[in-house]
């Protein structure tokens, strides 16, 4: 009976693997066919050698890093404060952080354009820097559900209230408490949120396209409409970046100083 159950679970697992990996294998195989009659990495060479790829990718990486920094500064103190001082507000804050999942990005970006156009009180879209700042805010909103949840989960694993009071009794102010007690103890959670943010920003299309910024997402879409084998290569590259981010989350957990000592 047990042997039969194990057999069927292996069948289900195998079917799942095939369902997930077959299209990827197909795409990977297709990306290798750029040279007629033989497998090669020609499509990858073309993509990686394309100056536009390098520019858009670098732009998106920089935007992702700024978004992460802004997200950490926005979310960590908020989640900490809500847990410590306003626990009754938690359901409302959680609801607000979930809104980006139900409001389409196109609605948000049109709202931004309407609010921050050149004739508004804060004409952010009037300059490249202003638009970049607006784009960063937009990315932070898109990443909010993931970042907030990651940090909130991290805070749940420590007794925030007592640790804060212990630090206060030792003379620490709020900045010291945040920097030396809260952040180091939720660092793994913050890093998880950061890598998820990175993956979101790298692949994001709507915000960047409608704000007319040279990001990686619009480049991928443009490539998909104009080339044959390169889009497949680009998709494989994008997948690799996402998986690398997930791997980094695992590594961050593994090599966190006190987490490592636990093993």
């Amino acid at each position: 009976m047990i042997r039969s159950a194990r057999f069927w679970s292996w069948i289900a697992f195998g079917a799942g693997l095939l369902y997930f990996f077959l299209p990827l294998i197909g795409m990977f195989e297709f990306s290798l066919r750029a040279k007629r009659g033989e497998y090669s990495f020609l499509a990858y060479e073309r993509v990686l050698g394309d100056p536009q790829f390098q520019q858009t990718f670098l732009y998106s990486v920089v935007m992702a890093l700024f978004t992460i920094v802004w997200g950490v500064f926005l979310v960590t103190p908020t989640a900490f404060w809500v847990r410590l001082k306003m626990p009754k507000l938690r359901p409302y804050i959680e609801f607000i952080t979930l809104l980006p999942l139900v409001i389409p990005p196109i609605v948000i970006v049109f709202g931004y354009i309407r609010l921050y156009n050149t004739s508004s009180f804060l004409p952010l879209t009037g300059s490249a820097l202003g638009t970049d700042i607006l784009l960063m805010f937009g990315y932070a909103v898109l990443a909010l559900p993931y970042m907030y949840r990651a940090v909130d989960t991290g805070l749940r694993t420590i007794d925030v209230g007592t640790l804060t009071e212990a630090a206060q009794s030792l003379g620490a102010g709020w900045i010291t408490i945040m920097a030396r007690v809260v952040l180091p103890n939720v660092l793994v959670a913050v890093l998880s949120g950061a890598f998820l943010t990175f993956a979101i920003v790298i692949g994001e299309y709507v915000f960047a396209a409608l704000l007319n910024r040279p990001a990686f997402g619009p480049y991928m879409v443009w490539m998909g409409g104009n080339k044959a084998y390169e889009p497949a290569a680009l998709a494989v590259i994008a997948f690799t970046i996402t998986w690398a981010c997930m791997g980094l989350i695992q590594l961050a957990t593994r090599f966190s100083k006190h987490e490592r000592a636990k093993r």
Binding site: I158, D159, T162, L163, E165, A166, A167, Q168, S169, L170, G171, A172, G173, T176, R180, V181, P184, N185, L187, K257, H258, A261, K262
Partner: protein, 353 residues
Amino acid sequence: MAFLDLTHLEKTFGANRVVKDFSLGVAQGEFVSLLGPSGCGKTTVLRMVAGFEQPTTGSIRIDGQDVTGAKANARNIGMVFQAYALFPNLTVAENVAFGLRVKGVPRAERDARVTEMLRLIGLPDLGARFPFQLSGGQQQRVALARALAPRPRVLLLDEPLSALDAKIRVSLRTEIREIQKELGITTIFVTHDQEEALSMSDRIVVMNGGIADQVGSPFDIYNRPTTRFVANFVGTLNTFDARVENPETGTVTLGGVSMTLAEGSLSARKGDTVAIALRPEALHLGRTEGRETVLPARIEAVHFMGSVIRLRADIGGTKVSLDTFNRADQPPPAVGSAMEISVSGRDAIVLRG
């Protein structure tokens, strides 16, 4: 003037008055316990001293300085929590050094103080460990060292032994008291464990419903409780209703038997009913010299507790507990047997309130 002076403290949460007109003066170097059941307001008093709660009314002075409105991080008070509250990302040494770093103490001085503190708590070699690599007792000692390292003016202990197992609890309370005496630090200790309070304190404040029911030395609190609550809460107590026969001589009748109370302990009129309390150790099996009142009893249960045997007996419908020392050559009485129990009126406590 007391070193730590709490004057008419009140604390309300919404409509709930948690602390009511609480005043207490603590001398420098004194160890005072706030003892009481859950919800009596003892932790709220401690948190007001620490600065984590603001009193609704009243004032807190430390060494003559009014700190009522001061922030928690500006009071220079050390605190040890029930849940240890060690910073999990820092090693033992880093935890102990935390308060010193916040104060900006130079590295060399800080390291010396950390070494001194770790030696004081008997863990000189564990500085490089993380908190989760220590036992509960070790963690609480580190928490004590961390609280003491910045040389606080007052040490607050919020049920620091509650999370530990019984044996560690007993040894750690001795250690805490010795360290407190060695440093001469003014200490307030919150506990619901009467044994801890009785064994550690210079004075005990028994709290009930937000007020200080009785303040006194452990000896007074145990032997001379002034209210029924204190008498019942501290130690085991047998209570009887007695009828006053002669207020001048302190004579009452207890289950039809006459008993003379200690001089001056009775302030009632003839014919009044008063509540009399007797500790289990004040009741003796059989007739014994110096215990003039003999009451007939029936043994209902025998609890062997090692060095002491606690008996449950029925005296004329009143259930009582009495303790007798274990003797290898004398087995305890059988359940159901009829015995005589002797008591002295001088051991009786007349309860009020």
